[in-house]
């Protein structure tokens, strides 16, 4: 059956309204904020109005006088001044932004490759017939389902340096700038390696058994099979996982927010956390919007480059 007439639009309306309200409008408004400086002024007046009961009759107080209620009348004036690219220019001279970019890049460059490597090795392992594989596989993927914020708080207690379960090691998990960044990376690896593992395992299990047999007949060693059979076939999957993880890692927020608060100093403050604080802690909404757009542009460039590479390589 084919929907015809206005009914089509009626059925589409909820989805369109949703997208307009929760995607297009915030996107457009934040772009507007990035180019304008907003100032507010508020005048408040109060009027006394009689309180009425359910029947609409005036309510009386203990002394028999009519009860009144305050009605607040707000006169709020927002003035917007166009400031052009000022907010974007600020990004280039802001030491906090530089530091946040450094932290974010370090995180992405260390955490993502390690997650891929560990994920791949685990997938290769679980692609064999090992004892208890179904149970172990289920256990392995549990961290994916945990809320990153809760994970952050949990690891805060685990890394707690006085009285925590790892306190005996004497490692400054949270109090040293490098130690804290390493801890954040470690937790992210713990949570997201299973994701890489799961996708790689699915891809490996899709490799036809005949290819392995043919390689074995040709006298290939396990290393040869890995290098010449598995890896080439898995390249598209690896690129896809790399892309997804990089896009996610560039937006790192929850784990440092909960675990280190971005500290000590700003040693674990990634770009998203800085943008969040700038906008919602200090209400410098224009600058925070500019930051968010800068991040969006970076993520889009990365994704575009990867997709282009994928298209070139695999049509």
């Amino acid at each position: 059956m084919r929907w015809t007439g206005n009914i089509r639009f009626l059925l589409l309306a909820p989805a369109v309204i949703w997208v307009l309200a929760f995607t297009v409008f915030p996107l457009g408004y934040s772009l507007y904020l990035a180019f304008y400086k907003i100032e507010q002024k508020v005048e408040v007046k109060r009027e006394k109005q009689p309180m009425l009961d359910a029947a609409g009759k005036p309510m009386l107080d203990d002394s028999g006088q009519p009860r009144t209620k305050n009605v607040v009348i707000k006169d709020q004036v927002n003035s917007a001044t166009f400031i052009g690219l000022d907010n974007f220019k600020r990004l280039f001279g802001d030491p906090q932004v530089k530091e946040a970019i450094r932290v974010t890049l370090l995180f992405v460059l260390i955490a993502v490759p390690l997650e891929l490597v560990f994920g791949f090795l685990l997938a290769v392992l679980f692609n064999q017939h090992i004892f208890g594989r179904p149970v172990l596989r289920a256990v392995m993927i549990l961290p994916i389902f945990a809320t990153p914020l809760a994970v952050g708080y949990t690891f805060f207690t685990i890394f707690y340096e006085v009285g925590g379960p790892l306190a005996w090691t004497g490692i400054p998990f949270l109090s040293n700038p490098n130690g804290a960044l390493a801890s954040v990376i470690l937790v992210d690896i713990w949570q997201w390696t299973p994701f890489c593992f799961l996708v790689f395992l699915a891809a490996l299990q899709g490799v036809p058994e005949e290819l392995y047999e043919a390689a074995r007949v040709d006298g290939a060693s396990p290393w040869d099979m890995l290098k010449e059979v598995m890896l080439p076939l898995l390249i598209p999957t690896i690129v896809l996982v790399l892309l997804l993880r990089m896009a996610e890692a560039l937006k790192l927020f929850d784990i440092p927010f909960a675990m280190t608060g971005g500290g000590p100093g700003v040693a674990t403050q990634p770009f998203s956390l800085l943008a969040f604080r700038t906008g919602l802690r200090f209400f410098d909404l224009g600058y925070a919007s500019a930051m968010a757009y800068a991040l969006l542009i970076v993520v889009m460039v990365v994704i575009t480059l990867f997709f282009r590479r994928l298209r070139v390589s695999y049509g």
Partner: protein, 548 residues
Amino acid sequence: MHPLKWPLLALPALVWLAPPVFAGQNVEWKDDGTVLLKLGDAYNNKVITTSRKELGSAFGPDKQPFKDVTITVTVNGAGPKGGISGPLYQFRPIWEELSGGKVNIVELPFAEHYTKMMLDLRNGTGQYDAFMVGAFWYGDIVPAGYAYAIDDLNKSDKYPQWSYDDFPPSLKTLYTWGGKSYGIRNDADGQVLYYRSDVLSDPKWQAQFKKEVGYDLPNPPQTWQQLLDISKFFNGKNWDSNDPDPDSGTVLHLKVGEQGHYHFQSLSASFVINPGDKVTRTQNVYWFDPEDMKPLINSPGHLKALEFLQELHKTGPAAQVGWSLGEAWDYFLRGKSVFVFSWGDVGALCQDQSRSKIKGKCAAAMMPSSNEYYDFTKKEFVKLDKPRLVGNTTGGSWHGVISNFSANPEATYSFLSLMAIKPVSKMMATFGWDGVDPGYSYQFLKEDGGTATIDDYVKAGWDANDAKAYTHAYHEVFNAPTMLTYLRIPGTFEYWDILDKNLSAAMSGGKSAKQALDDTATAWEGVTDRIGRDKQKADYQAAIGYKP
């Protein structure tokens, strides 16, 4: 028939028919004009005696002036028995019985409270009637017209009676703005030095200190330099017999994004502030040059103070870089450090033996001073012959401010004022868990010009010596001849956040002290320019009482 059928059926009917036996359970009106306010377990079932006059004419045995009115108050989340939030819970049933109204308490994590408050105010939603604010938020809420001036309500005899006359000038400033009153009396924050009186007065340690360091152990230390010597001496020794592990000299709470920067403020005050009778461009200034709003935060005095704090940090546990208040306080309360300098909560918590091992050994003193300060006029350090008293109101002095968008300012005022009347405020200051610290004349002892007696504290479970030292220290810190000026201009939260992050980097070894303070100054310039230098200058001058 089941033997329990009838009792089970009768139960709902009995509940429905039962007279309201709990009516009046929190408030008792006496014929002689006194009124008893009955508190719960958290305050050891204390009964506060007040009068009809003190409660205000709006309330009475047959009156319920705010019947069906619901007010909503936000507060830093700490629970029904936590600092600042606890008293709201404990006094809620009393006010609800007095007024007929309802109170919603909205607890918000410290890091989100400001955000939620500002979102409500900026959008003019009026979702909240009042906020338990830190005084450093005033710059963002009062000039913008978001706060409700309470002068008329405070003068009225209708609501619970309290007065700003009991405030020392240093604290009154924090509750007012531009000649108008906004804050309803509650907490009084300032940092004092807490020390182990038993350890510093122990002849064995005194002799060993003299032998090792070369002078008599000062008890308590008068200068920061003396404190560092003592702290170094005791750090790593097992001077406390509570456990076999070595103990520390000084414990600090340095976690980024929390309250570590207050340590620096209180400590550096005596390294920086130039004494004088009035505020000039170089005297009694700490944050900015009041003529051009150039930051002073990277002055040689500030730098020396931060380098000193780095040294002092080495005499405590390394993990304290990531410690909040609770962890540092507990370390001191467990008898693990000789010193902590912090807020009034510590003195009261020392008396709580469920948490403290040092009741009766927990003395307090005015903050030490540096033996030199940086002279802004001569551009050189000035050596002092004797220590000076530099007070502070460091902290939030957390208290209620009514939203200008509240439809029920009178009801809200009456609830928050219930906790501000003298007998209540006096009682709250003697409890450690509630976060309400002393600062008002009736909380100080008679020898310090107050009206309280040592018995008031002993009856509340205090050790007499601890109480005497504690109240004296607080009297000194709020009434010192030289005070650390309080920053409360628009953007204060952001200025402090920048300072806090850089201090944390300096304390954790991520930056040198100079780099941290220079970076702070640079970032502050950006904030000042963004908000508007002239606007900031005018607010800053007004805030510190500078007249060009």
